[in-house]
Symmetry: C2
């Protein structure tokens, strides 16, 4: 069955015995509303960092909270046996905003264990999955290893930042400024998902992202639509025209000039593999009340989210938005738009092309203001990375199902930043599920993800020490 | 100079002497936040109605507050000399919402008198112009006439409703149910504007309106744009496509089928008259920071707002709208859209055409929900209405400038409802100015509009008694 059973058994038993206490610790972290995009939560972000520092200290890490121009970064070091590999674990303690609050069944920062209709136990809270639950799988694995083996099988540096959800510009400068201290052989990141609830996965393809906010302004004040309607330029209409022009209605392709520069064609062998492996459109979209893939014609939902670039409108706002009706002709309208990048797409070029697209469509008397919300390139883990094979085996051993190598539609800019600053590759191992409602109301993390996630890291760290 | 000087002099002097007290009374009414679209302000709406009832009672009206399924209606009666004409005055005590509150220089329900850069004294508050200030010009005229002449020169019925700003469906049934009590020869309405700050006007053309709210829904929950972006239908994108398709970009014309059915061609003689009389595009639009007319190609701003139909997006909302960025792919997006109607355009047909336009553009997996927010036909006052000429002369006498006959881009559904329920025509006489910031932050009413507005009504009531 399990070649390494003798080595891993005691810490795995420890994980099982201590699960309730581990859950209590995760709940304590989940109670801290560390929403990084909201200035009002700055103190909560620091509280989460301090909580993690204390936790790491109790399990033998030399841990500290390090100031940045934004939210602080937690760093911890624990030495392994002489000559053992050195891994750097990355996670983030900040969480997404919770709105719309009215859609939460229970308060987002009062974590609870609930049972879904299928009898699956779930941890429900903002950050349960992204990324506090995932971070704690690694921390608890370190605890179990230390409590049973007296130490870790590899040297571990932990870096937990607080600005992942706010396009944080402070991580890369921090990595660069502390490259000697943070030097390691390999990065481990726990911020991705499984292929499905039974199949563990390592993510080797990540999309990059460009976040942009555009504000269109026309008149110098809100007007009465009866007095000025038709004759005065309506910025909502202008914004809708601009957004509508972002996609070719026939092909679903993004119309920005040069947008597809650097986008690699999908290999037919990969497409076939994914068709065999992954969920069908009906399965993946059916889970959220949809039936057919939108977007680019000719690609499945999986292909579109794993390896095609995208353009999404994440928010739009203008004029009267409350109950009832108001015949206002507003002075401004705004939208938040994100582009996911693949291959060699250049975030700066995409941002510039978007701004040119907007400016080219601005009628007389209108102006546009742009706010940049982060930009990162896509990243790919080399297929011949030495750590990949033992890590896949460790996951396969834990879950009893062959671990998969997958892509991910999301963006984890730290992968390319770690490469750039420290010269190291990353292994992305995570236990989130597609239906975790990450970034949505009622976010959850299955208790199995948490429990077997901790056990998985015990096995992966053991495997990497070999 | 003034043929009727002997008759009108005493009440006009009274108006001048009592201006400060009249302003105090208006301020008391302005302090009541009677926002009819917000359920939380229902008690304030009733308080405004009760305040008016008391005020009317003190000046000799037989006044009462009448319940409706919505906000109450104030009715008052005062008999004039035997055989004198009977006029029905209509106004509304409800006001628009105040958002965005942050743009108000002082609290919207704390009225104050301020002086603008040109030294003009202005009453600043929500409702100062629309319509509390205008309503009180008539009430104060009645007070002055009564206090000097012992009574009114004509019989007066006053109807002041509380749902004008919320598309109130309760006025017409009330008029129909009380048609015997409310019978009169002519309606007087004070809810319109002057041609400019020196030129009084009677409005004879009013546009109708259709208010619609549309909600587009796709997935059954908010999604992470990294996990589902491109592949899952984005309702904001769908809504933008629908809105963008509402206008032909080349001609600026509304694309709804049959939209222009019943829209009369402008007579060339009228166009010439307006060009001579009215502000240029540069003047009317320049006042609000714009330079060129948008909308229908080939029509001036004045023509477009006085006698062409329009389509405006009054509000749009979807996804993440707060500070910062959130890569959500929202489940729903909504817009509030209004159409202004002219000539014989049918509100029901326009609403049906809009809904068909939306449904025809709904992709698979999307649904649309519609909420109707009022509908009314355009209305026109006959040029040969007997009261028109003496009323114009009374205004000319007061202001020293020839009173104008104008159109109005706004909609005052009560005109057609009074015609339908009571069989009477309306004279629309108002003293608002284009820059009153009606429906916007820092709404104001010039002290001259208030003062000379009261004096104007004294003269008009005298003129109608002749």
């Amino acid at each position: 069955m399990d070649a390494q059973m003798n080595v891993v058994q005691p810490p795995l038993m420890r994980v099982n015995m201590n699960l309730e206490a581990a859950l209590e610790r995760l709940f304590a972290l989940l109670r801290i509303p560390s929403v990084s995009t909201k200035a009002a939560h700055a103190a909560d972000c620091r509280a989460a960092a301090e909580w993690l520092r204390e936790e790491l200290t109790t399990i033998g890490f030399d841990a500290s909270v390090r100031d940045t121009p934004g939210h602080p970064i937690v760093v911890g070091h624990a030495k392994g046996p002489e000559g053992a590999p050195h891994v750097l674990f990355y996670g983030h303690y900040d969480v997404q905003p919770v709105d719309p609050l009215s859609l939460w069944a229970t308060p987002p920062f009062e974590p609870r264990l609930s049972e879904n209709a299928a009898g699956v136990k779930e941890i429900v809270a903002r950050g349960a999955s992204d990324d506090k639950g995932q971070v704690m799988t690694f921390v608890e694995a370190c605890r179990a290893l230390r409590e049973t083996d007296g130490g870790l099988p590899v040297s571990v540096t932990i870096v937990i930042e607080g600005e992942e959800e706010s396009g944080g510009a402070n991580l890369l400068p921090f990595l660069l400024a502390n490259r000697d201290e943070l030097q390691a052989d390999l990065a481990l990141i726990c911020d991705t998902g499984m292929l499905d609830a039974r199949t563990p996965a390592i993510t080797t393809m990540l999309r990059g992202m460009v976040g942009e906010e555009v504000v269109i302004t026309a008149a110098d004040r809100d007007l009465h639509s009866g007095m000025f309607g038709n004759a005065a330029r309506n910025p909502i209409q202008v914004l809708c025209d601009i957004i509508s022009d972002l996609r070719d209605p026939a092909t679903g392709r993004v119309t920005l000039s040069c947008f597809y520069d650097g986008v690699p064609d999908m290999r037919e062998s990969v497409r076939e593999q994914w068709r065999a492996l992954g969920p069908t459109d009906a399965e993946s979209l059916g889970a959220v009340g949809l039936s057919q893939a939108a977007g680019e014609v000719g690609y499945t939902a999986l292909e579109q989210t794993w390896c095609r670039p995208s353009c999404e409108i994440n928010g739009i706002s203008g004029g009267y938005e409350e109950d009832g009706f108001k015949t206002v002709l507003p002075a401004r309208a705004s939208a938040k738009i994100s582009f996911r990048l693949v291959g060699d797409q250049d975030p700066d070029a995409v941002r510039a092309a978007f701004r040119a697209h907007v400016r080219a469509r601005l009628p007389v008397d209108c102006s546009a203001e742009f706010i940049a919300h982060g930009g990162s390139r896509a990243s790919v883990v080399p297929e011949d990375l030495p750590a990949l094979k033992p890590a896949l085996q460790a996951l396969t051993d834990e879950w009893g199902t062959q671990a998969a190598v997958i892509g991910c539609g999301g963006s984890i800019p730290v992968v390319s930043e770690l490469k750039q600053a420290l010269g190291i590759d990353s292994l992305l191992i995570g236990f989130a599920l597609d239906d975790d409602r990450v970034h949505s109301p009622n976010e959850k993390y299955s208790l199995t993800s948490f429990h077997k996630g901790i056990r998985s890291w015990v096995r992966v760290l053991q495997a990497l020490s070999a």
